[in-house]
Amino acid sequence: MFSQQAEREIDRLLARYPRKRSAIIPVLFIAQKERGYLSDDVLEYVAKRMGLTYLDVVTVVSFYTMFYRRPIGKYNIQLCNNVSCMLCGSEKIQEHIERKLGITFGQTTPDGRFTLTEVQCLGSCGTAPVMQVNFDYYENLTPENVDQILDSLP
Protein backbone atom coordinates (compact mmCIF):
# COMPACT_ATOMS: atom_id res chain seq x y z
CA MET A 1 0.00 0.00 0.00
CA PHE A 2 2.87 2.39 0.78
CA SER A 3 6.23 3.06 -0.82
CA GLN A 4 8.85 0.35 -0.46
CA GLN A 5 10.87 2.51 1.87
CA ALA A 6 7.86 3.09 4.11
CA GLU A 7 7.03 -0.62 4.17
CA ARG A 8 10.61 -1.43 5.15
CA GLU A 9 10.53 1.17 7.88
CA ILE A 10 7.29 -0.37 9.21
CA ASP A 11 8.92 -3.82 9.24
CA ARG A 12 11.85 -2.40 11.15
CA LEU A 13 9.57 -0.78 13.73
CA LEU A 14 7.49 -3.91 14.23
CA ALA A 15 10.65 -5.87 14.98
CA ARG A 16 12.13 -3.21 17.21
CA TYR A 17 9.76 -3.22 20.19
CA PRO A 18 9.33 -5.99 22.77
CA ARG A 19 5.67 -6.00 21.73
CA LYS A 20 4.53 -5.10 18.23
CA ARG A 21 1.60 -3.02 19.34
CA SER A 22 3.98 -0.44 20.82
CA ALA A 23 4.93 0.57 17.30
CA ILE A 24 1.46 1.90 16.52
CA ILE A 25 2.20 5.63 16.89
CA PRO A 26 5.38 5.63 14.77
CA VAL A 27 3.67 3.40 12.18
CA LEU A 28 0.71 5.77 11.98
CA PHE A 29 3.10 8.69 11.45
CA ILE A 30 4.61 6.83 8.50
CA ALA A 31 1.17 6.11 7.09
CA GLN A 32 0.18 9.74 7.47
CA LYS A 33 3.35 10.91 5.80
CA GLU A 34 2.63 8.61 2.88
CA ARG A 35 -1.02 9.55 2.43
CA GLY A 36 -1.37 12.97 4.01
CA TYR A 37 -4.12 11.76 6.32
CA LEU A 38 -5.47 8.56 7.83
CA SER A 39 -8.45 7.34 5.83
CA ASP A 40 -10.41 4.22 6.77
CA ASP A 41 -8.63 2.05 4.24
CA VAL A 42 -5.26 3.20 5.58
CA LEU A 43 -6.35 2.30 9.10
CA GLU A 44 -7.62 -1.11 7.92
CA TYR A 45 -4.25 -1.71 6.34
CA VAL A 46 -2.29 -0.58 9.41
CA ALA A 47 -4.47 -2.87 11.55
CA LYS A 48 -3.76 -5.84 9.31
CA ARG A 49 -0.09 -5.03 9.18
CA MET A 50 0.09 -4.92 12.98
CA GLY A 51 -2.13 -7.86 13.79
CA LEU A 52 -4.74 -5.57 15.37
CA THR A 53 -8.38 -4.84 14.65
CA TYR A 54 -9.60 -1.72 12.88
CA LEU A 55 -11.23 -0.72 16.17
CA ASP A 56 -7.93 -1.01 18.06
CA VAL A 57 -6.34 1.35 15.60
CA VAL A 58 -9.14 3.88 15.22
CA THR A 59 -9.52 4.36 18.97
CA VAL A 60 -5.82 5.12 19.25
CA VAL A 61 -5.90 7.52 16.31
CA SER A 62 -8.80 9.51 17.75
CA PHE A 63 -6.95 10.04 21.02
CA TYR A 64 -4.06 12.03 19.54
CA THR A 65 -4.29 15.46 17.96
CA MET A 66 -1.40 14.98 15.55
CA PHE A 67 -3.28 12.39 13.52
CA TYR A 68 -5.62 13.64 10.82
CA ARG A 69 -8.68 11.69 9.69
CA ARG A 70 -9.40 14.14 6.86
CA PRO A 71 -7.22 15.80 4.25
CA ILE A 72 -5.63 19.03 5.43
CA GLY A 73 -3.68 21.79 3.73
CA LYS A 74 -0.23 21.27 2.32
CA TYR A 75 1.04 23.48 5.11
CA ASN A 76 -0.48 23.10 8.54
CA ILE A 77 0.18 26.34 10.40
CA GLN A 78 0.02 25.45 14.06
CA LEU A 79 -0.08 28.57 16.19
CA CYS A 80 0.39 28.40 19.93
CA ASN A 81 -2.06 30.47 21.91
CA ASN A 82 -1.13 29.30 25.36
CA VAL A 83 -0.36 31.85 28.06
CA SER A 84 3.33 32.63 27.49
CA CYS A 85 2.66 33.13 23.79
CA MET A 86 -0.49 35.15 24.53
CA LEU A 87 1.51 37.46 26.82
CA CYS A 88 3.90 38.04 23.94
CA GLY A 89 1.24 38.88 21.38
CA SER A 90 0.13 35.60 19.79
CA GLU A 91 -3.40 36.98 19.36
CA LYS A 92 -2.07 39.68 17.05
CA ILE A 93 -0.28 37.04 15.04
CA GLN A 94 -3.49 35.04 14.88
CA GLU A 95 -5.45 38.04 13.57
CA HIS A 96 -2.72 38.76 11.07
CA ILE A 97 -2.70 35.24 9.66
CA GLU A 98 -6.48 35.08 9.63
CA ARG A 99 -6.68 38.28 7.63
CA LYS A 100 -3.86 37.29 5.32
CA LEU A 101 -5.25 33.87 4.47
CA GLY A 102 -8.95 34.51 4.96
CA ILE A 103 -9.38 31.50 7.27
CA THR A 104 -9.77 30.98 11.00
CA PHE A 105 -8.67 28.14 13.28
CA GLY A 106 -9.71 24.77 11.95
CA GLN A 107 -10.11 25.96 8.35
CA THR A 108 -8.20 25.33 5.14
CA THR A 109 -7.73 27.76 2.26
CA PRO A 110 -9.80 26.86 -0.84
CA ASP A 111 -6.64 26.13 -2.83
CA GLY A 112 -5.67 23.53 -0.22
CA ARG A 113 -2.41 25.25 0.55
CA PHE A 114 -2.83 26.28 4.18
CA THR A 115 -4.64 24.96 7.23
CA LEU A 116 -4.65 27.08 10.38
CA THR A 117 -4.67 25.18 13.66
CA GLU A 118 -4.66 26.39 17.25
CA VAL A 119 -2.26 24.29 19.28
CA GLN A 120 -1.20 24.10 22.91
CA CYS A 121 2.21 25.05 24.27
CA LEU A 122 4.93 24.00 21.84
CA GLY A 123 7.78 24.18 24.36
CA SER A 124 9.13 27.44 22.93
CA CYS A 125 7.74 29.88 25.46
CA GLY A 126 11.04 31.77 25.81
CA THR A 127 10.94 32.70 22.13
CA ALA A 128 7.22 33.44 21.93
CA PRO A 129 5.07 33.83 19.92
CA VAL A 130 5.66 30.56 18.14
CA MET A 131 4.20 28.47 15.36
CA GLN A 132 5.01 25.21 13.69
CA VAL A 133 4.46 24.80 9.98
CA ASN A 134 4.15 21.05 9.59
CA PHE A 135 7.16 19.97 11.71
CA ASP A 136 9.25 23.14 11.45
CA TYR A 137 9.47 25.65 14.29
CA TYR A 138 9.24 29.41 13.71
CA GLU A 139 9.86 31.53 16.78
CA ASN A 140 9.82 35.20 17.84
CA LEU A 141 7.00 35.86 15.39
CA THR A 142 6.02 39.33 14.21
CA PRO A 143 3.44 40.14 11.53
CA GLU A 144 6.35 41.01 9.21
CA ASN A 145 8.33 37.81 9.61
CA VAL A 146 5.14 35.73 9.44
CA ASP A 147 4.54 37.25 5.99
CA GLN A 148 8.07 36.40 4.97
CA ILE A 149 7.83 32.85 6.26
CA LEU A 150 4.49 32.07 4.65
CA ASP A 151 5.35 33.79 1.36
CA SER A 152 8.61 31.92 0.97
CA LEU A 153 7.18 28.41 1.42
CA PRO A 154 7.61 26.42 -1.79
Partner: protein, 422 residues
Protein backbone atom coordinates in the same frame (compact mmCIF):
# COMPACT_ATOMS: atom_id res chain seq x y z
CA UNK B 1 27.66 30.45 40.49
CA UNK B 2 29.14 27.53 38.60
CA UNK B 3 26.89 26.22 35.86
CA UNK B 4 26.76 22.46 35.81
CA UNK B 5 23.96 20.90 33.82
CA UNK B 6 24.06 23.81 31.39
CA UNK B 7 27.87 24.08 31.27
CA UNK B 8 28.05 22.43 27.86
CA UNK B 9 25.17 24.50 26.44
CA UNK B 10 27.58 27.17 25.23
CA UNK B 11 30.25 24.83 23.88
CA UNK B 12 29.96 24.61 20.11
CA UNK B 13 29.16 21.10 18.86
CA UNK B 14 28.90 19.60 22.35
CA UNK B 15 26.18 17.43 20.80
CA UNK B 16 28.90 15.57 18.88
CA UNK B 17 30.54 12.59 20.51
CA UNK B 18 34.17 13.73 20.16
CA UNK B 19 33.44 17.17 21.64
CA UNK B 20 31.35 15.58 24.39
CA UNK B 21 34.23 13.27 25.25
CA UNK B 22 36.66 16.20 25.36
CA UNK B 23 34.44 17.84 27.95
CA UNK B 24 34.19 14.98 30.38
CA UNK B 25 31.62 12.93 28.51
CA UNK B 26 30.93 9.27 29.41
CA UNK B 27 33.41 9.38 32.31
CA UNK B 28 30.59 8.90 34.79
CA UNK B 29 29.28 5.92 32.82
CA UNK B 30 32.72 4.37 32.81
CA UNK B 31 33.07 4.94 36.54
CA UNK B 32 29.71 3.37 37.23
CA UNK B 33 30.28 0.32 35.05
CA UNK B 34 33.79 -0.37 36.26
CA UNK B 35 33.84 0.76 39.89
CA UNK B 36 30.31 0.79 41.28
CA UNK B 37 27.56 -1.70 42.03
CA UNK B 38 23.96 -0.75 41.17
CA UNK B 39 23.30 -0.37 44.90
CA UNK B 40 26.16 2.10 45.23
CA UNK B 41 24.79 4.15 42.34
CA UNK B 42 21.36 4.30 43.98
CA UNK B 43 22.96 5.20 47.31
CA UNK B 44 24.87 8.09 45.73
CA UNK B 45 21.74 9.43 44.07
CA UNK B 46 19.87 9.15 47.38
CA UNK B 47 22.61 11.15 49.10
CA UNK B 48 22.32 13.85 46.48
CA UNK B 49 18.70 14.63 47.42
CA UNK B 50 17.95 14.91 43.70
CA UNK B 51 14.22 15.31 43.19
CA UNK B 52 12.36 14.60 39.97
CA UNK B 53 12.28 17.61 37.67
CA UNK B 54 9.16 16.56 35.75
CA UNK B 55 6.67 18.05 38.17
CA UNK B 56 6.07 15.87 41.18
CA UNK B 57 9.51 16.28 42.78
CA UNK B 58 9.77 12.71 44.00
CA UNK B 59 13.27 11.77 45.32
CA UNK B 60 14.99 9.99 42.45
CA UNK B 61 17.22 7.66 44.45
CA UNK B 62 14.26 6.44 46.46
CA UNK B 63 12.26 5.78 43.27
CA UNK B 64 15.11 3.70 41.87
CA UNK B 65 15.32 1.82 45.14
CA UNK B 66 11.69 0.68 44.81
CA UNK B 67 12.49 -1.52 41.81
CA UNK B 68 12.44 -5.12 43.06
CA UNK B 69 15.84 -6.71 42.62
CA UNK B 70 14.66 -10.28 42.69
CA UNK B 71 11.97 -9.93 40.02
CA UNK B 72 12.56 -12.36 37.13
CA UNK B 73 10.84 -9.93 34.74
CA UNK B 74 12.73 -7.55 32.51
CA UNK B 75 13.01 -4.02 33.85
CA UNK B 76 12.64 -0.83 31.88
CA UNK B 77 13.76 2.74 32.19
CA UNK B 78 11.60 5.35 30.48
CA UNK B 79 12.77 8.90 29.98
CA UNK B 80 9.86 11.32 29.95
CA UNK B 81 10.55 13.84 27.20
CA UNK B 82 6.93 14.75 26.67
CA UNK B 83 7.58 18.32 27.90
CA UNK B 84 4.06 19.65 27.50
CA UNK B 85 3.45 21.57 30.70
CA UNK B 86 2.66 25.08 29.41
CA UNK B 87 5.57 27.38 30.12
CA UNK B 88 8.21 24.65 30.11
CA UNK B 89 11.02 24.52 27.54
CA UNK B 90 14.09 23.29 29.44
CA UNK B 91 14.23 19.62 28.36
CA UNK B 92 14.37 20.82 24.79
CA UNK B 93 17.58 22.73 25.62
CA UNK B 94 19.19 19.60 27.06
CA UNK B 95 18.24 17.45 24.09
CA UNK B 96 19.34 20.09 21.64
CA UNK B 97 22.62 21.13 23.19
CA UNK B 98 23.80 18.28 25.40
CA UNK B 99 22.01 15.16 24.16
CA UNK B 100 24.85 12.81 25.06
CA UNK B 101 24.52 14.05 28.64
CA UNK B 102 20.97 12.72 28.64
CA UNK B 103 22.00 9.42 27.03
CA UNK B 104 24.72 8.98 29.65
CA UNK B 105 22.21 9.62 32.44
CA UNK B 106 19.78 7.12 30.94
CA UNK B 107 22.47 4.43 30.75
CA UNK B 108 23.50 5.00 34.37
CA UNK B 109 19.87 4.86 35.49
CA UNK B 110 19.34 1.66 33.51
CA UNK B 111 22.39 0.08 35.12
CA UNK B 112 21.20 1.11 38.59
CA UNK B 113 17.79 -0.54 38.20
CA UNK B 114 18.94 -3.47 36.08
CA UNK B 115 17.28 -2.45 32.80
CA UNK B 116 18.63 -3.46 29.41
CA UNK B 117 16.16 -1.51 27.36
CA UNK B 118 15.31 2.14 27.81
CA UNK B 119 12.83 4.39 26.02
CA UNK B 120 12.76 8.10 25.43
CA UNK B 121 9.12 9.10 25.05
CA UNK B 122 9.33 12.42 23.22
CA UNK B 123 6.41 14.64 22.26
CA UNK B 124 5.62 14.35 18.56
CA UNK B 125 6.04 18.07 18.00
CA UNK B 126 9.75 17.67 18.83
CA UNK B 127 10.21 15.54 15.69
CA UNK B 128 13.53 17.18 14.80
CA UNK B 129 14.79 16.26 18.28
CA UNK B 130 13.59 12.70 17.91
CA UNK B 131 15.66 12.41 14.75
CA UNK B 132 18.58 14.13 16.43
CA UNK B 133 18.48 11.77 19.41
CA UNK B 134 18.42 8.79 17.06
CA UNK B 135 21.57 10.09 15.37
CA UNK B 136 23.18 10.73 18.76
CA UNK B 137 22.35 7.21 19.94
CA UNK B 138 23.82 5.74 16.76
CA UNK B 139 26.97 7.73 17.31
CA UNK B 140 27.16 6.54 20.92
CA UNK B 141 26.56 2.97 19.74
CA UNK B 142 29.48 3.22 17.33
CA UNK B 143 31.62 4.55 20.18
CA UNK B 144 30.73 1.52 22.28
CA UNK B 145 28.56 3.42 24.76
CA UNK B 146 25.17 1.99 23.77
CA UNK B 147 24.12 -1.51 22.81
CA UNK B 148 25.87 -4.76 23.63
CA UNK B 149 28.78 -5.11 26.02
CA UNK B 150 29.10 -1.41 26.76
CA UNK B 151 32.75 -0.34 27.20
CA UNK B 152 33.67 -4.02 27.34
CA UNK B 153 32.06 -4.41 30.76
CA UNK B 154 29.40 -6.92 29.75
CA UNK B 155 26.56 -4.48 30.40
CA UNK B 156 23.96 -4.31 27.60
CA UNK B 157 21.53 -1.48 27.10
CA UNK B 158 19.65 -0.26 24.07
CA UNK B 159 17.60 2.91 23.77
CA UNK B 160 14.46 3.43 21.66
CA UNK B 161 13.24 6.94 20.90
CA UNK B 162 9.46 6.83 20.79
CA UNK B 163 7.24 9.69 19.61
CA UNK B 164 4.05 10.89 21.25
CA UNK B 165 1.35 12.28 18.99
CA UNK B 166 -0.11 15.31 20.70
CA UNK B 167 -1.72 14.57 24.06
CA UNK B 168 -0.64 16.43 27.21
CA UNK B 169 -1.99 13.67 29.43
CA UNK B 170 0.66 11.30 28.05
CA UNK B 171 3.21 13.26 30.12
CA UNK B 172 1.59 11.69 33.18
CA UNK B 173 3.71 8.63 33.79
CA UNK B 174 1.06 5.91 33.72
CA UNK B 175 -0.75 7.44 30.73
CA UNK B 176 2.67 7.52 29.08
CA UNK B 177 3.07 3.79 29.67
CA UNK B 178 -0.34 3.08 28.16
CA UNK B 179 0.60 5.17 25.16
CA UNK B 180 3.94 3.40 24.86
CA UNK B 181 2.09 0.10 24.88
CA UNK B 182 0.17 1.32 21.84
CA UNK B 183 -3.09 2.28 23.52
CA UNK B 184 -5.06 5.40 24.28
CA UNK B 185 -3.26 7.43 26.93
CA UNK B 186 -5.56 6.94 29.90
CA UNK B 187 -3.87 7.21 33.32
CA UNK B 188 -3.74 3.97 35.31
CA UNK B 189 -4.87 3.53 38.87
CA UNK B 190 -2.03 3.70 41.42
CA UNK B 191 -1.06 1.51 43.27
CA UNK B 192 0.44 -0.59 41.87
CA UNK B 193 3.19 1.89 41.08
CA UNK B 194 5.24 1.56 37.89
CA UNK B 195 8.35 0.59 39.88
CA UNK B 196 6.68 -2.78 40.47
CA UNK B 197 4.07 -2.97 37.66
CA UNK B 198 4.96 -0.69 34.77
CA UNK B 199 5.58 -1.15 31.08
CA UNK B 200 4.19 -4.54 29.87
CA UNK B 201 3.51 -5.27 33.55
CA UNK B 202 7.22 -5.17 34.35
CA UNK B 203 9.12 -3.02 36.87
CA UNK B 204 9.66 0.39 35.30
CA UNK B 205 11.20 3.67 36.32
CA UNK B 206 10.00 6.86 34.64
CA UNK B 207 12.18 9.93 34.95
CA UNK B 208 12.16 13.36 33.40
CA UNK B 209 14.90 14.38 30.93
CA UNK B 210 16.48 16.90 33.31
CA UNK B 211 16.42 14.45 36.22
CA UNK B 212 18.41 11.90 34.21
CA UNK B 213 20.76 14.52 32.81
CA UNK B 214 21.78 15.46 36.37
CA UNK B 215 22.86 11.93 37.20
CA UNK B 216 26.31 11.86 35.52
CA UNK B 217 27.30 15.03 37.39
CA UNK B 218 26.24 13.47 40.69
CA UNK B 219 28.28 10.36 39.96
CA UNK B 220 31.40 12.33 39.07
CA UNK B 221 31.31 14.83 41.91
CA UNK B 222 29.41 12.99 44.60
CA UNK B 223 25.95 13.06 46.11
CA UNK B 224 27.03 15.22 49.03
CA UNK B 225 28.44 17.88 46.77
CA UNK B 226 25.18 18.00 44.84
CA UNK B 227 23.07 18.14 47.98
CA UNK B 228 25.05 21.10 49.31
CA UNK B 229 24.26 23.11 46.16
CA UNK B 230 20.59 23.15 47.07
CA UNK B 231 18.53 23.09 50.23
CA UNK B 232 18.08 20.59 53.01
CA UNK B 233 15.37 18.57 51.30
CA UNK B 234 16.14 19.33 47.68
CA UNK B 235 19.62 19.02 46.33
CA UNK B 236 21.32 20.80 43.50
CA UNK B 237 20.31 23.26 40.85
CA UNK B 238 17.35 23.33 38.51
CA UNK B 239 16.73 24.56 35.02
CA UNK B 240 14.08 27.26 35.29
CA UNK B 241 12.12 28.16 32.17
CA UNK B 242 11.45 31.88 32.40
CA UNK B 243 8.84 33.36 30.04
CA UNK B 244 6.22 36.06 29.69
CA UNK B 245 6.76 39.77 30.27
CA UNK B 246 10.45 39.73 31.17
CA UNK B 247 13.24 41.47 29.29
CA UNK B 248 15.35 38.32 28.93
CA UNK B 249 13.25 35.16 28.84
CA UNK B 250 15.11 31.87 28.64
CA UNK B 251 16.31 28.80 30.49
CA UNK B 252 18.36 29.60 33.61
CA UNK B 253 20.28 27.15 35.76
CA UNK B 254 19.96 28.32 39.35
CA UNK B 255 19.98 26.58 42.75
CA UNK B 256 16.99 25.25 44.58
CA UNK B 257 15.96 27.80 47.15
CA UNK B 258 16.74 30.65 44.74
CA UNK B 259 14.63 33.79 45.26
CA UNK B 260 11.95 34.16 42.58
CA UNK B 261 12.57 37.90 42.60
CA UNK B 262 16.19 37.47 41.59
CA UNK B 263 15.22 35.20 38.73
CA UNK B 264 12.78 37.78 37.41
CA UNK B 265 14.77 40.96 38.02
CA UNK B 266 18.46 40.00 37.87
CA UNK B 267 18.44 37.12 35.42
CA UNK B 268 15.35 38.06 33.45
CA UNK B 269 16.22 41.76 33.44
CA UNK B 270 12.93 42.75 35.07
CA UNK B 271 9.56 43.51 33.53
CA UNK B 272 9.40 44.66 29.92
CA UNK B 273 8.86 48.33 29.09
CA UNK B 274 9.53 49.39 32.69
CA UNK B 275 6.15 48.12 33.81
CA UNK B 276 5.24 46.69 37.17
CA UNK B 277 4.77 43.09 38.09
CA UNK B 278 1.21 41.85 38.53
CA UNK B 279 1.38 38.08 38.88
CA UNK B 280 3.61 35.05 38.50
CA UNK B 281 2.80 31.43 37.72
CA UNK B 282 5.81 29.75 39.34
CA UNK B 283 5.76 26.14 38.15
CA UNK B 284 3.91 25.76 34.87
CA UNK B 285 0.19 25.91 34.10
CA UNK B 286 -0.55 23.36 36.83
CA UNK B 287 0.74 25.61 39.63
CA UNK B 288 -1.55 28.19 41.25
CA UNK B 289 -0.87 31.84 40.43
CA UNK B 290 0.95 34.17 42.85
CA UNK B 291 0.29 37.88 43.32
CA UNK B 292 3.19 40.31 42.94
CA UNK B 293 3.27 40.61 46.71
CA UNK B 294 3.56 36.85 47.20
CA UNK B 295 6.18 36.63 44.47
CA UNK B 296 8.24 39.22 46.32
CA UNK B 297 9.12 36.78 49.10
CA UNK B 298 8.86 33.44 47.27
CA UNK B 299 11.83 31.13 47.01
CA UNK B 300 12.01 28.45 44.34
CA UNK B 301 11.82 25.28 46.39
CA UNK B 302 9.17 22.67 47.11
CA UNK B 303 8.19 23.41 50.71
CA UNK B 304 8.33 27.22 50.59
CA UNK B 305 6.16 27.27 47.46
CA UNK B 306 3.75 24.77 48.99
CA UNK B 307 3.46 27.10 51.99
CA UNK B 308 2.31 29.79 49.55
CA UNK B 309 -0.33 27.39 48.23
CA UNK B 310 1.43 26.73 44.97
CA UNK B 311 4.17 24.45 43.73
CA UNK B 312 7.54 24.02 42.09
CA UNK B 313 6.09 21.91 39.29
CA UNK B 314 8.28 21.85 36.21
CA UNK B 315 10.17 25.02 37.17
CA UNK B 316 8.36 27.06 34.53
CA UNK B 317 8.05 30.66 35.70
CA UNK B 318 5.51 32.73 33.74
CA UNK B 319 5.68 36.45 34.46
CA UNK B 320 2.75 38.83 33.95
CA UNK B 321 2.92 42.63 33.95
CA UNK B 322 0.44 45.13 35.39
CA UNK B 323 -1.60 45.31 32.17
CA UNK B 324 -2.26 41.58 32.04
CA UNK B 325 -5.89 40.54 32.12
CA UNK B 326 -6.00 37.58 34.51
CA UNK B 327 -9.41 36.57 33.18
CA UNK B 328 -7.96 36.02 29.72
CA UNK B 329 -4.86 34.18 30.92
CA UNK B 330 -6.94 31.94 33.17
CA UNK B 331 -9.33 31.30 30.30
CA UNK B 332 -6.39 30.19 28.19
CA UNK B 333 -5.28 27.77 30.90
CA UNK B 334 -8.73 26.29 31.46
CA UNK B 335 -9.27 25.90 27.73
CA UNK B 336 -6.01 24.00 27.71
CA UNK B 337 -7.07 21.68 30.52
CA UNK B 338 -10.52 21.13 29.00
CA UNK B 339 -8.90 20.27 25.69
CA UNK B 340 -6.39 17.93 27.29
CA UNK B 341 -8.75 16.23 29.75
CA UNK B 342 -8.74 12.61 28.66
CA UNK B 343 -12.40 12.30 29.58
CA UNK B 344 -11.95 9.29 31.80
CA UNK B 345 -13.55 10.79 34.90
CA UNK B 346 -16.59 13.01 35.21
CA UNK B 347 -15.42 15.79 37.57
CA UNK B 348 -12.50 16.64 35.30
CA UNK B 349 -14.25 16.18 31.97
CA UNK B 350 -17.43 18.02 32.91
CA UNK B 351 -15.85 20.45 35.37
CA UNK B 352 -13.36 21.81 32.87
CA UNK B 353 -16.01 22.12 30.14
CA UNK B 354 -18.35 23.91 32.47
CA UNK B 355 -15.61 26.33 33.50
CA UNK B 356 -14.81 27.09 29.87
CA UNK B 357 -18.49 27.95 29.30
CA UNK B 358 -18.52 30.27 32.28
CA UNK B 359 -15.39 32.02 31.03
CA UNK B 360 -16.89 32.45 27.61
CA UNK B 361 -19.97 33.99 29.16
CA UNK B 362 -17.82 36.34 31.24
CA UNK B 363 -15.78 37.39 28.24
CA UNK B 364 -18.94 38.07 26.23
CA UNK B 365 -20.06 40.41 28.97
CA UNK B 366 -22.90 38.23 30.21
CA UNK B 367 -21.37 37.06 33.48
CA UNK B 368 -22.70 37.47 36.98
CA UNK B 369 -21.49 37.27 40.58
CA UNK B 370 -22.97 33.80 40.66
CA UNK B 371 -20.63 32.77 37.85
CA UNK B 372 -17.62 33.79 39.90
CA UNK B 373 -18.93 31.85 42.87
CA UNK B 374 -19.58 28.91 40.60
CA UNK B 375 -15.98 28.96 39.35
CA UNK B 376 -14.72 28.80 42.93
CA UNK B 377 -17.21 26.07 43.87
CA UNK B 378 -16.36 23.99 40.81
CA UNK B 379 -12.69 24.38 41.56
CA UNK B 380 -13.18 23.32 45.19
CA UNK B 381 -15.32 20.35 44.20
CA UNK B 382 -12.97 19.09 41.52
CA UNK B 383 -9.91 19.25 43.68
CA UNK B 384 -8.95 15.85 45.07
CA UNK B 385 -11.85 14.10 43.34
CA UNK B 386 -10.27 13.18 40.06
CA UNK B 387 -8.49 10.08 38.85
CA UNK B 388 -5.22 11.85 38.04
CA UNK B 389 -3.54 15.16 38.90
CA UNK B 390 -4.70 16.88 35.70
CA UNK B 391 -8.07 17.50 37.31
CA UNK B 392 -6.41 19.04 40.37
CA UNK B 393 -4.26 21.21 38.14
CA UNK B 394 -7.32 22.49 36.28
CA UNK B 395 -9.03 23.31 39.56
CA UNK B 396 -5.90 25.03 40.80
CA UNK B 397 -5.57 27.14 37.70
CA UNK B 398 -8.99 28.67 38.30
CA UNK B 399 -9.93 28.87 41.99
CA UNK B 400 -6.91 30.83 43.25
CA UNK B 401 -7.00 33.15 40.22
CA UNK B 402 -10.62 34.11 40.92
CA UNK B 403 -9.92 34.62 44.62
CA UNK B 404 -6.70 36.58 44.23
CA UNK B 405 -7.62 38.69 41.22
CA UNK B 406 -11.30 39.23 41.89
CA UNK B 407 -11.16 42.80 40.58
CA UNK B 408 -10.13 41.56 37.15
CA UNK B 409 -13.09 39.22 37.08
CA UNK B 410 -15.54 41.80 38.38
CA UNK B 411 -14.71 44.08 35.50
CA UNK B 412 -16.55 41.63 33.29
CA UNK B 413 -19.73 41.56 35.33
CA UNK B 414 -22.45 43.49 33.66
CA UNK B 415 -25.69 42.01 34.88
CA UNK B 416 -25.50 41.13 38.53
CA UNK B 417 -27.65 38.69 40.48
CA UNK B 418 -29.27 36.08 38.30
CA UNK B 419 -27.34 33.42 36.45
CA UNK B 420 -27.57 34.12 32.74
CA UNK B 421 -29.69 31.58 30.94
CA UNK B 422 -27.41 29.22 29.09
Amino acid sequence: MERIISARFDIPNADQLDVYLEHGGYRALKKVLTEMTPEQVIEEVKKSALRGCGGAGFPTGMKWGFVPKDSPKPKYLVCNADESEPGTFKDRQIMEKDPHGLIEGILIGAYAIGAHLAFIYIRGEYWYLKEKLERVIDEARQGGYVGRNILGTGFDCDIIVHPGAGAYICGEETALLESLEGKRGYPRLKPPFPASVGLYGCPTVINNVETLAWVPHIILRGGEWFHRLGTEKSGGHRLYSLSGHVVRPGVYERPLGYPLKRLIYEDGGGIRDGKRLKAVVPGGASSPILTAEEAESATLDYEPLAALGTMMGSGAVIVMDEDTDIVRTTYSFIKFFAHESCGWCVPCREGTRWMVKIFERLLRGGGTERDLEMLVTLSDNMFGRTHCPLGDAAAWAVGPAVKKFRADFERYLTRRGAVAAD
